[in-house]
């Protein structure tokens, strides 16, 4: 297992290099070039200093050398300076990352807590009313554009429905918390409801459908019948024998879906003014702040590569039928 992990990690290096090369090439096309973000540190300095800085940054070097130096700085977490805030890009991102993880993590947890029972139950009661309702819901959930769902949620729960006690909107439409209010768990949770609903609805539809199909595949297999024949309670048969095998592919699927989860989070953060990485990225695109754009793209790609790697290893751990060679 250890050797396999090391080999896979080494295999991920060319992927990361390719991604970084593409990002660097895109930066070349941007005004100011790849080092534009670093040069802003010297804004307002005299021409000689600027020339020296350009030399230091290697703007006069051949392209491959520039790439190497840029990669070196990126690996040390130095992504240059953000245009508007004049703070290091890395700091800007680290400020926002926790909010994104908080939102995505909650949505992910809600998804699992709902998708697993829904998928398992509708497989056990195939063609029942519940199963048909779930199928209809999954068709709808897979076809609704996520950003439109966000708008409709705001239309219903912020603009139309009122809170019977205060007379204000039923649910807040933006932010992590009420501005200026003291910390309260209730306030935080209330702010989570709409963005999490928007993110989780589609995921629940997708994963419960997948799990239903996956459960239906294993439930008629011999080992499940054996478990039943030896007198195990139905609960144990379903959870310990059928579900455990049916859920293994879910691990890979969730890792492969990570890019979509990130783009979903971007929409949620934009629509609900959530101060996360997606919102930072969106605002940076509006301000043409290439340093931030490139850093976020690089970090997201790296996270995707690593999560795929992790999923493969978890898969191998969970499923002893897979030989690592």
């Amino acid at each position: 297992m250890g050797g396999y992990a090391v080999r896979r990690l080494i295999g991920a290096v060319p992927l990361l290099l390719f991604v970084s090369a593409v990002v660097f090439a895109l930066l070349q096309a941007a005004p100011g070039g790849p080092t534009g973000a670093y040069l802003r540190r010297g804004a307002g300095m005299n021409p000689e200093d600027l020339a020296r800085l350009e030399e230091e940054l290697g703007l006069n070097d051949p392209v491959y050398l520039q790439y190497g130096k840029w990669l070196g700085r990126v690996l040390q977490g130095d992504f240059g300076m953000a245009v508007t805030s004049r703070r290091p890009v890395g700091d800007e991102i680290m400020d926002r990352l926790p909010n994104t993880l908080y939102l995505m993590g909650t949505a992910w947890l809600v998804t699992l807590l709902l998708a697993i029972p829904i998928g398992v139950y509708s497989a056990l009661r195939q063609y029942s009313k519940f199963d048909h309702a779930v199928t209809a819901f999954t068709f709808v959930g897979q076809s609704v554009p996520i950003f439109w769902l966000g708008l409709i949620l705001i239309l219903i729960f912020y603009l139309t429905l009122d809170n019977p006690v205060t007379g204000g909107p039923l649910l807040p439409s933006g932010g992590v918390k009420t501005l200026g209010a003291d910390f309260s768990i209730r306030d935080r949770l209330v702010h989570l409801i709409l963005p999490v609903t928007m993110l989780a609805a589609g995921w629940i539809a997708w994963y419960s459908r997948f799990l239903r199909a996956s459960m239906l595949e294993v439930i008629h297999l011999d080992y499940v019948r054996t478990a039943r024949a030896k007198g195990l309670r139905e609960r144990a048969v379903v959870l310990r024998h059928a579900f455990r095998n049916a859920a293994i592919p879910l691990v890979t699927l969730m890792a492969l879906d990570l890019p979509y989860l990130f783009s979903g989070a971007l929409f949620a953060e934009v629509i609900f003014s959530w101060p996360g990485m997606g919102r930072l990225f969106f605002d940076a695109a509006g301000r043409r702040d290439y340093g931030i754009l490139m850093a976020v793209t690089m970090i997201t790609s790296a996270l995707i590569i690593l999560s795929n790697l992790l999923a493969d290893m978890v898969y191998a751990l969970l499923d002893p039928r897979i030989r690592l060679s």
Partner: protein, 313 residues
């Protein structure tokens, strides 16, 4: 490799016809069988009807009673009425006309980017699956690499570049967005085509064609590709739906099709500011995306059943 069209080609042609060519009559019954299977899937048939209606509305969009770009100082931000079915926006433009015209743009971008993804994906998948070896390894690594990019983020970066560099001339046209979406979505197709080519290239009929003197290109296009049509059609259908969602999302964020050209996505961005007074504006374009995407998904499901040689319904 023989030069094409030499005397050997004729021979090969005749031999192929003897060995594996399908007669017109057989193809006719295959098509009818497929159609019958497709229409037995009721949701797919319904999806096809809805899609045809939406397509028709897009084609007939210029016949709408109002010009989607015509401004009006007197009829601004009106609610739905007999005159303006969906009301008018802040510039007095008819929202119904804009929604229908937006469909024209969104559907075109969806189809065009899928066509491009098809061209790239089928070529890469076919080369990788047919030749194998280092060609396969290289092309599949490339596919993996493209899968690592967070599509939406790269699309936004490219849109920003198109806006701020000499590419600015392209702004306002739907060509760049269709190209960019297509270039970032061929990977699934490539994998499916590769798998089919890998499975089919060892079959006897391929060997027979080779023995009859057919070249690589001919074997790939005339003998193996027809076997991959089923999965390709299904995947491409679903890709149209995905591309429409991507385009509208990007346009909603302001990085796709640029106003005043309407698309379902940028109409929603417009609508956002007036949701309290003009809720229908926020509902109509989104509902169109939803209906289109769901219909395409149903049709894709129906095609999957109809084109799968193992299903005998």
């Amino acid at each position: 490799m023989r030069p094409a069209g030499g005397p050997g080609a004729l021979q090969a042609d005749a031999a192929e016809r003897l060995l594996g060519g399908r007669s017109a009559a057989r193809q006719e019954t295959m098509l009818r069988l497929t159609l019958r299977r497709f229409f037995r899937h009721r949701l797919a048939a319904a999806g096809l009807v809805v899609l045809m209606l939406i397509g028709l509305s897009a084609i007939l969009a210029p016949l709408a009673p109002y010009d989607p770009d015509a401004l009006s100082a007197t009829a601004r931000k009106q609610g739905p009425s007999a005159e303006h079915w969906f009301g008018t926006d802040k510039a007095g433009r008819d929202i119904f006309a804009r929604t229908v015209a937006g469909g024209r743009v969104s559907l075109t971008v969806g189809l065009a980017s899928t066509a491009l993804a098809l061209a790239v994906g089928v070529t890469i998948g076919a080369l990788a699956g047919y030749f194998g070896g280092w060609i396969d390894a290289g092309l599949m690594r490339l596919t993996d690499a493209f899968l690592c990019f967070p599509q939406l983020f790269v699309l936004i970066v490219l849109a920003t570049l198109i806006r701020t560099t000499s590419l600015r001339v392209l702004q306002g046209s739907m060509v760049p967005i269709a190209v960019v979406i297509g270039v970032l979505s061929w990977m699934g197709l490539a994998r499916i085509v590769r798998a089919t080519f890998l499975a089919l290239r060892e079959k006897e009929f391929v060997e027979a064609a080779r023995a009859a003197g057919a070249g690589n290109l001919r074997i790939m296009t005339r003998h193996i590709l027809p076997g991959a049509v089923g999965p390709i059609v299904v995947q491409a259908t679903l890709l149209v739906a995905a591309s429409i969602i991507t385009e509208s999302g990007l346009s909603y964020l302001g990085f796709g099709v640029q106003p005043p050209t309407p698309s379902w996505g940028n109409l929603l961005e417009d609508a956002q500011a007036h949701m309290r007074t003009l809720p229908v504006f926020a509902i109509a374009p989104g509902l169109m995306i939803f209906l289109t995407v769901m219909s395409i998904n149903f049709v894709g499901d129906g095609l999957r059943d109809a084109l799968d040689p193992h299903s005998r319904r």
